[in-house]
Symmetry: C2
Subunit: 336 residues, 2 copies
Amino acid sequence: MVKDCSTDTVAQAVREYEGVIRKKVIGDVIRSLRIESPDVVASFGEDAAVIRHNTDDALLLAADGIWSKLMEADPFWAGYCAVLVNVHDIAAMGGRPVAIVDILSVTNDRIRDEVTRGMVTASAQFGVPIVGGHLHPDTPYNVVDVAILGTARMDQIIFSNTAEEGDRVIAAIDLDGRIHPSCCYNWDSVTMKSAEVVRAQIRLMEDLGREHLVTAGKDISNPGVIGTLGMLLEVSEKGAVIDLEAIPRPDLAALKLPFEQWVRMYPGMGFILTAKEENVEEVCHRFADVGITAAPIGKVDGSRRLAVRYLGRETQVFDLDQEGIMRIFSEGGACR
Amino acid sequence: MVKDCSTDTVAQAVREYEGVIRKKVIGDVIRSLRIESPDVVASFGEDAAVIRHNTDDALLLAADGIWSKLMEADPFWAGYCAVLVNVHDIAAMGGRPVAIVDILSVTNDRIRDEVTRGMVTASAQFGVPIVGGHLHPDTPYNVVDVAILGTARMDQIIFSNTAEEGDRVIAAIDLDGRIHPSCCYNWDSVTMKSAEVVRAQIRLMEDLGREHLVTAGKDISNPGVIGTLGMLLEVSEKGAVIDLEAIPRPDLAALKLPFEQWVRMYPGMGFILTAKEENVEEVCHRFADVGITAAPIGKVDGSRRLAVRYLGRETQVFDLDQEGIMRIFSEGGACR
């Protein structure tokens, strides 16, 4: 099924992928940024920061920018993604996305208009208003940075760092999509969907949080499905072995898409979750109801290493104890 | 008192200032960004968006970026300002700044470290934690974009678009400072102050909102004191005549600072407010208590033009009806 692929080639492809390597400097920056604040329940290492508000409420705040490469290749898709990745950040926490602000730096009016059109398209489709921001109309570079506000009840939040030994790892990806024509590492499952469909997909994460059906979660971002799981395990201080064959995938042969590329792709709608054994079936069923393919792909253990398994062979991808991905912990502090 | 200066030279200097001109494209972008949302009470045209939360609460969300020029000239000050301008955005609304996220794009580690040091310094001084963000470690440009979350009660918010005919215009600026060595258009009154002093200055805006002592307000940003007043009048659909002599200023002669430059400067702590006649004295007194010089400088009228007066002569700076500054209204819609 996973043709022309070995655990070694996949492990290496993920480990050396730019989307993963770029996470390595996060730790240095975070250590210098952190200051103490009693209402900040979670910050770095989570998809969104969690700030306690009026005892039981939580305010979620996240920010994400788009690689300049994408901005120049396809400004419409860059603007669309700027909104999409931020909506994912709130959804991954089990929250409700409320409002977006953007900071746009552009070299010319055409790029400005295309990025804006992309942001507005996603904003309208996902029902999350863009409420303000800042425009640099005449910079020598093109950058779109977006921040998002979300809300949740304190007791419905899905954290990244709460996976426990014995939990099952679930990968959930909407496979009904296409390789985006402007970026071979983007799996676009969203632009062709109705507002109703994508909003139901986002709302499902709120349900999973409220009903405590999962123990931890992250949206699958630039590091891809395996890299994102590595980040979740890193902040949870756990490890896992996953079966490559179990990872949901479209018809790769028809798409002429190597498996090594598929696992590094950023999916338009994808989450990595951990859940107690008894909830795995229900979680996968709920995802199927909103058009997302979810499957258990492995088990959380205490090893602090992430390994991949295929045809009886097992290869380590990350040693999270020695190397880490974000290296948030290398001075010993916990991320919250 | 305002030596070597005429209403004409000041009007022209403000009108043609880059900080003002750069606001002109905002209108075009805003018209394409706006989508309807029932909880969004205010968005574009205000320093921060206002989102209704649990009936009486308001969540404030703003974003601001730093001109690339400053980022290259002095990355520490750029990082510091990135936090400062966002704290101002929340304070200007009468809100309490709660948390910050940043998106940082850097060409090298030195700039990354300096910008981070600047952000952390301001974050610690103002007591607003940086809770997350995104890092592009290897871009061909240097950009720091910051977004901020604030909270307020719905009934304490100070809007920009609520100035009324007959209100007095108050300019409030901390004059105890220096021309910033890296940028002659930045009046730094903050880096040398204690956390206690700057936090009291920010908190005062909350008090003014809660006690309904002002009718409208904005923080003085890149367009300077007159340009910022123009923006407030534009969204309020009002006009004003102000006396140049009344604008608070440091010892310009000692600083060798032309008055035309002073009125275009971005002050480390400065606000433009409007207030009912009977509250002007109290407002100015409160500002004095926290080390900020505040003075009535003119009166709001229905003309939709901003004019400056000096030595009996009056010159129009902006025709807000025909030209506008942000031109948010040029397709007829109100900004909220």
